[in-house]
Amino acid sequence: MKNQLLLKTAGTMLVRILFAVVAAFPIVFMLVSSLKPDQQIFGDMSSLAAFLPVGNISFDNYTAVFDRVPAARFLLNSVGVSAVTVVLGIFVNSLCAFALSRMQIRGKKIVFTAILATLIVPFQTLALPLVWWVNQLPYFELNGFSLEFSKGWLDTYQVQIIPFIANAFSIYLFHQYFESIPKELDEAARIDGAGWFKIYRRVVMPLSGPATATVAILTFLPAWNSYLWPLMVVQSEELRPVMIGIQYFFQLNVSWGEVMAYASLITVPVVVLFIAFQRSFVNSIASSGVKG
């Protein structure tokens, strides 16, 4: 009986490891290959060496990447765009969720329903009309002391940020979380003379760490990984994010070592961030979504 149980546990563990190997092998292959010259990548492919940093290891591919494409600029653009989107997204969405969840406002039910309704529209159906639409929007630029006015948001930073700040799913996640914070705290703060914004800033938000972390990751991932949108709205090289930079490697006679180095370069920061926030993320992401 006991042996059977032990066997079962060992079997389960074996299946777990099998799944882990399948999940990890392409990423390990990418990281390892980024350190090898092309000839060795192909040479190692038929053996386990494909997954081991052995042989002629160097960071040459990485230096070559920075020589070949403005990778530093692309990274900076992506970091900037993602960071601004995340910070503004947390502020705008939590503020809205605060009003929806903790204040008695006439008509808020209609607003909440309308916000949730936006979840059924896939971004792909919006993308093309949105390109046309942002191209009609006015654009203000401070040039010295004069405010210059022109039309069309194409090829700017704001076109990569502003349309993605408000997000119904983030509002929903904050709303669900705020509902779990006792409303008596608001009352107490109000008796102490705090205004609504102060309650938001000093009472509710400091208690909402897990929700904020989840929204941060869920905003950061698509911002960093976005491909379709910048492909359509950004032309200038100096405004491009990392994912579009990858197009430089689509050409023929590409060095696969360099491709793997660039791919690793844009993957590793996300993986590190994810591991740092992993716990709060895994615990809170879907649990609030599944309850419905």
Binding site: W132, W196, M243
Partner: protein, 325 residues
């Protein structure tokens, strides 16, 4: 992530359904509004305004615009004024054989990926549901492909799928040289299966998290009770776990389906719809005409057809997975 429809249930009975006494109380309260009511309205709308206006500007307006533009001849950059052309775009679309091929490809992709991916994700969630040594390691590894962008994944697998690539080398090694793998992406018969495999590999971890959350919502007492009744592992799954996953199930099904219907990134990086249109998709066609040929109106028509398709499929799914009282 932005396009996840939630299985929201109607709110439990509110004031309308409440018994008369509380209704009267409600009215009385409305007559004597507590102090600060007006200010609360004012600050409340102020707090909702930024998000509401942004959603209005970047979801509602473009959605309506897309609907309207589909019936015009709008181009991204054009000296001519926008004119109404009726159903011309749709007539052109429905007489285009590539469009039907795209529909077929997307149907193929969706029909395979929905059961396989959700099933594998459930297996993964079951494997890491209980606490054991190293559980966090496995959770992280299983989720790793999800944080890797689809563009990077596509580029990586593009390399692995070559005739002399890693996949064929592995196949040859495990079969002792018996299997000589195909040129996966170059052959119309294997291109779509190859894209299906990498898509499942990349996204299964995301749905695993939803399943996992569902699993953790099932009360442990139910398992204890079933153990006392001496149920087998399978019976436990069948009568405790599966019914307990009701909400997770509808969420997983809806998100996988909508993501599958919107297949684009992989195609754009790996095959550009080829070989011989065997991997072209609706969104790929829309982006081709809207972005490369700058035909906003035609692309809007395709997007509209896509949106209707998504609505129909999710309505059918909602109906099939509804709560049966």
């Amino acid at each position: 992530m932005a396009t996840v429809p939630l299985p929201t249930r109607p709110h439990p009975a509110t004031a309308e359904a409440a018994p008369p006494p509380s209704n009267a109380k409600d009215k009385a309260r409305r007559a004597h509004r507590r102090p600060g009511f007006r200010r609360e309205q004012f600050s409340g709308w102020g707090m909702m305004a930024p998000a509401a206006l942004l959603l209005l500007a970047f979801i509602f307006i473009p959605a309506i615009l897309g609907f309207g533009l589909a019936f015009t001849n709008a181009r991204l950059i054009s000296p001519r004024p926008v004119e109404f052309v009726g159903v011309e775009n749709f007539a052109r679309l429905f007489s285009d054989p590539t469009f039907y091929r795209a529909l077929l490809n997307v149907a193929y992709f969706t029909v395979v990926i929905v059961p396989v991916q959700s099933g594998l994700a459930l297996v993964m969630a079951l494997l890491i549901n209980k606490k054991f040594r190293g559980v966090n390691f496995f959770r992280t590894v299983y989720f790793l492909p999800v944080v890797t962008s689809m563009v990077v994944v596509s580029l990586l697998w593009l390399f692995m799928y070559r005739k002399d690539g890693l996949i064929n080398e592995i196949l040859s090694a495990v079969s002792f040289g018996l299997i000589d793998g195909p040129d996966w992406l170059g052959d119309p018969n294997t291109a779509m299966p190859a894209i299906i495999i990498l898509s499942i590999w990349q996204a299964a971890g995301f749905h695993m998290i939803i399943w996992l959350a569902g699993l953790q919502g099932i009360s442990g007492e139910l398992y204890e009770a079933s153990q006392l009744d001496g149920t087998s592992r399978w019976q436990q799954f069948r009568y405790v776990t599966w019914p307990g996953l009701f909400h997770a199930r509808s969420l997983v099904l809806v998100t996988i389906t909508i993501q599958a219907l919107g297949l684009f990134d992989q195609i754009s990086v790996m095959t550009q719809g080829g070989p011989m249109d065997s991997t072209t998709t609706i969104i790929y066609e829309a982006v081709q005409s809207g972005y490369r040929q700058q035909e906003t109106s035609y692309a809007s028509a395709i997007s509209l057809v896509f949106f209707v398709l998504v609505l129909i499929v999710s309505a059918v799914q909602r109906y099939l997975t509804r709560e049966k009282d």
